[in-house]
Amino acid sequence: MSKGVKERTKAKQVVREQLARERRRTVTLWTTVGVIAVLVIAGLVGWGVAAGQAKDTAGKLTVPPSAVDDGTAFARGSGPVTVDIYEDFICPGCRQVETTTGPTITGLVQAGKVTVRYHPIAILDRYSTTQYSTRAASASAAAADGGKFLEFHDALFAQQPPEGGAGLDDAKLIEIGRSVGLTDEAFADAVNGKKYKAWATKVTDTASARGVVSTPTVFVAGKPLERPTPDALTAAVEAAGA
């Protein structure tokens, strides 16, 4: 092979490599642009879907007439110290507090010392296969319409289903309602028609905005009570009332 041919072959190869490099750069550039566009669009879709869901909830919202605190809670008693209780009907810790501290709460209400505001929130929907938390919270609002919130609330905790199962179905919720005196059609219709489903979502959302990240969460006069034992609750109420 002559020297000239050799050089020409080499030159051709250099050009070929250059073209390949350029091509690679173009492909990298456009795939980068594509990937970033896909991720931005995905993010915007997420934002849009969430905004749509929020709008949907707002559109369907019915606030129970007896609800207090911006329509997010049910009050019991009329004492000077406000006790806010955030509970999820499937939360075993809430049931425990109801059992241990419940009588103390009743005592404080009867002594005219506190106004208890029950906030039935639904943060544990993933612990049942049927969104029991949301359904139970919604049903409790319907019970409030019938003037039996507390009775229904107590009955739900007494018959609390275990976490991880199907919860109690709507028929069972209606049956429990009947057992505490909610015998009219309005209660059954509200449960079956999911009348307060959006309301349960709103109550949960409001609680989250207030920094409630777990249940049970108890505030005495706006201050969180770390462990709501009977003694701690009584002490906090005394301190707030003084």
């Binding site: 690679r24 795939t31 990937v35 991720l39 997420g46 943060i123 929907d125 949960t204 959302d205 777990s214």
Partner: protein
């Protein structure tokens, strides 16, 4: 026997794709809960946490699909690594502040019930494992069965 690097990278790519698809898929069904899980870290105000919680599952799924397709693998691996580092930082900060939360990594986590202990150590170890997958891809992004391979006319 030596396994050629493209095959190791291919396994890493598909593994990381599965991680994102599962992580995003488990959260996408309940965006409100996803927002609450972010809120539980107490790093953002609630409005911001809601947006982060809504955007995140979709980003994760998109990233998973891109990795599955093998498009711009090195870039996707870099973004994955950045996200994982942010998640690890979030868990470390929750741990350091003594918060008792479920990391929400593969669920719409958030709060933990009474008597349930957070598994921060495991969560971090797991995320570090995923980070390793991303690292492999950052180092050797060439993989089999990828769009990158087709576009670059990989003869190998």
């Amino acid at each position: 026997m030596r396994i050629p690097t493209p095959w190791i990278s291919t396994v890493a790519r598909l593994g990381l794709a599965a991680v994102w698809l599962v992580a995003g898929g488990l959260k996408v069904g309940d965006l409100a809960a996803s927002g609450r899980a972010v809120n539980a870290y107490q790093l953002f105000d609630y409005e911001t946490a809601k947006v982060v919680g809504a955007v995140q599952p979709f980003l994760e799924i998109a990233l998973g699909l891109l990795l599955l397709a093998g498009l711009a693998v090195r870039l996707c691996a870099g973004i994955s690594a950045a996200l994982l580092l942010i998640f690890i930082a979030g868990i470390v900060s929750a741990w350091a502040r003594g918060l008792r939360i479920d990391c929400g990594c593969f669920s719409t986590g958030g709060e933990l019930g009474v008597g349930v202990d957070p598994a921060y150590g495991w969560d971090i170890a797991r995320d570090a494992g995923f980070l390793l997958l991303a690292g492999v891809l950052l180092w050797r992004p060439r993989t089999r069965f990828s769009i990158d391979g087709i576009l670059l006319e990989d003869e190998r």
